[in-house]
């Protein structure tokens, strides 16, 4: 079995989803007219109700068995810091694409992600980054003739 990060039991998701739903409902009341917001707001209310039930489960002993942990036997503990960094790399890539465009973002991201997050040698990272970027360029720009995004800076 491949390694899987162990699942976490925490109250955080409920709070997060609750805030999102609240914001959603508020937006509905502020910006939308009566007719447009009817169904979305109703959905928001139902979601909050479901969240309330989910919260109740925590406090009622008979119901509070945690849903089946799907992470499996080979689950490993992953430090939160590493998870945050892993997510951070995606933010990094997306922002680079948005600002600098694919031609800059892809090689840089690949090199940095493989070398630092992935802890591979700089040589492996460098080669992978260059080769992959060239292949992407050839396939998308030349063969498919899709103009790859050049970022806010260059377009």
């Amino acid at each position: 079995m491949a390694k899987t990060a162990k699942n976490t039991t925490s109250f955080a998701p409920v709070i997060f989803i609750f805030c999102f739903t609240l914001g959603y409902i508020a937006t509905g009341f502020i910006y939308l007219d009566e007719e447009s917001r009817r169904v979305p707001i109703l959905t928001g209310y139902v979601t909050i109700f479901l969240l309330a039930l989910e919260t109740l489960k925590w406090f009622i002993p008979s119901m509070s068995q945690e849903p089946k942990d799907t992470s499996g036997v080979d689950a490993v503990e992953v430090p939160v810091s590493r998870e945050v960094i892993g997510l951070g790399y995606v933010v990094f890539l997306a922002s680079m694409i948005y600002v600098f465009g694919f031609y800059v973002a892809i090689p840089i991201y690949l090199f940095v992600a493989i070398a630092f997050l992935g802890s591979q040698t700089k040589k492996t990272a460098g080669i992978s980054a260059v080769v992959a970027s060239i292949i992407i360029y050839v396939v998308f720009e030349l063969i498919l003739e899709t103009r790859l995004y050049q970022g806010l800076l260059f377009s």
Partner: protein, 501 residues
């Protein structure tokens, strides 16, 4: 009808046409494998190439593309948890766990066998109902669309019996996201904050690529290792096992194929929903539903049978009324027009020959792409042995590029990235992603169906049981609800009784 088919076969049987068909298959496979790109993009990009061709050649190539995309998408779904096309998302559910156990070859073998078989049954079904095509399409109006969407939502939101409540919460969030954008029923811009990008709503393919592909790749990059945990466990020769599994489970193939054809024929609901419902119903009918998601081969067979059958289904409204049954069909209609035909109810009368060529091409394409998939399985399975630290960033990068290539919108990249992160959090906190996805797909259809029905009936709820079709749908929904909740209630009753004894 047989003579029409034979004629079509002889139409295709020229060297040039077969070559174009195979070319289409190659394109279809590649476009299918690259996340984000799919049949729609492939057809759109290759449309200009069909200019100089005869209609028969153009249709042969189109059929080649459409039939192969599903197989290509299945490959990335299984190996990388990244659906190559939206309908392949259901294949990731058990396909990727199989790859993690080193059984990628088996999964690909099963998918490769299910695709042409499912496609074949789909074509047979299509040909059988073709005479009543128009009446069938006319059975579905706003009330039926609404009920169908509810059925899809209920089936899938409740499919994870261990996580019912969280599944419903996911579905709720998915619905809320589905309502973002301009609403054609009420005419309002909703939750867009004035953004031109959000005007068109949260796009489905970037969302899927993010939630399934990017999420798992983030996971892989964090945990390290390889997709298949243990290099020695990768059995590259599992292909035969996979093929046999599909043949043994022919009932699942037929059920999946029927689901694909029926649901694929409903415009706007389409392929993604069809494969998810095929998966869910197979899971539900199984003796051990809770093992689905850990690597059950049936969980690959069902959606992939549906995936190819859906093209036959999508042809139904396309041929009957010229209304595209799917986005691919919409582009295909364009190719049709390009070759001097007019979409509409007269197509079956005037362009019968070309349509049968397409049908044959679709079937042959599924077979060819399956053969290619099986031939390449050894190399494909080796992908699961590549170091995750290299593979994950590569797949994420290619996914984002592919997502951008669909419509040239940088916003799509952002959506894929954001949902990739959200998906990771859902994964870690044990919130099922499936209901969110299905709600995203069906939310608009459900709301539109409901609001329009209310407008047509002037506020009367009776419209939802006013036709045979709608009554059947209501019954289906009730049965599904019952099936989900009653066993649970009975179980707890029995447990309580056992306690008191």
């Amino acid at each position: 009808m047989i003579d029409l088919l034979l004629n079509a076969l002889s139409d295709i049987a020229s060297v040039k046409t077969i070559l174009l068909l195979v070319l289409g298959v190659m394109f279809g496979l590649v476009f299918g494998v690259i996340p984000g790109l799919g049949g729609t993009t492939a057809l759109a990009i290759l449309m200009p190439l069909t200019f100089g061709m005869t209609a028969i050649d153009a249709f042969a190539m189109s059929g080649g593309i459409m039939g192969a995309v599903a197989m290509g998408g299945a490959i990335s779904a299984i190996l990388l948890n990244t659906p190559g096309t939206a309908p392949n998302a259901a294949t990731t559910l058990d396909g990727y766990p199989l790859a993690k156990q080193g059984r990628a070859a088996e999964a690909i073998g099963a998918a490769a066998t299910a695709s042409p078989l499912g496609g074949l049954f789909g074509v047979i079904t299509l040909l059988m109902v073709l005479p009543v095509a128009k009446q069938l399409v006319l059975l579905f109006g706003p009330p039926e669309f609404f009920l169908l969407a509810v059925f899809g939502l209920v089936t899938i939101a409740l499919s994870d019996s261990t996580n019912l409540l969280r599944g419903l919460v996911s579905a709720g969030v998915g619905l809320m996201l589905a309502f973002v954008g301009y609403d054609t029923v009420t005419g309002g811009e909703r939750f867009t904050y004035g953004s031109d990008y959000l005007f068109d709503g949260i796009p489905l393919v970037p969302a899927l690529v993010g939630l399934f592909g990017v999420t798992e790749m983030i996971h892989l990059s964090i945990t390290g290792g390889t997709v298949a945990g243990d290099a020695s466990a990768v059995r590259i020769h599992g292909v035969m096992k996979g093929i046999k599994a599909t043949l043994k489970n022919w009932r699942i193939v037929i059920r999946g194929s029927l689901t694909g054809t029926i649901i694929g024929s409903i415009p706007g609901v389409g392929g993604t929903v069809a494969t998810f419902i095929a998966y869910s119903t197979t899971k539900r009918a199984d003796a051990d539903p809770e093992s689905f998601g850990t690597g059950r081969i049936e969980g690959v067979i069902a959606p992939e049978s549906a995936n190819n059958a859906k093209d036959s289904g999508a042809l139904l409204p396309t041929i009957a009324f010229g209304i595209p049954g799917s986005a691919e069909m919409a582009v295909f209609l364009g190719i049709l027009v390009l070759h001097g035909m007019q979409p509409g109810p007269t197509m079956l009368l005037n362009n019968e020959r070309e349509i049968y060529v397409l049908i044959i091409a679709l079937t042959l394409s599924a077979v060819f792409s399956a053969i290619i998939g099986i031939a390449l399985v050894k190399w494909l399975a080796m992908i699961t042995l590549v170091r995750g630290q290299i593979l994950a960033p590569l797949v994420i990068a290619v996914s984002l590029v592919g997502t951008y290539a669909i419509n040239s919108r940088p916003g799509d990249v952002v959506i894929a990235a954001i949902l990739g992160m959200v998906g990771y959090l859902m994964l870690r906190f044990n919130y099922p992603r499936l209901p969110l996805v299905i709600a995203l797909v069906l939310g608009e259809t459900a709301e539109r169906g409901f609001l329009q029905s209310m407008m047509i009936s002037q506020g009367s709820w009776g419209i939802f049981i006013s036709s045979v079709t709608s009554i059947i749908m209501v019954l289906l929904i009730l049965i599904t609800l019952g099936w989900s909740f009653i066993p649970g209630i009975l179980k707890s009753r029995r447990a309580a009784k056992a306690k008191s004894d």
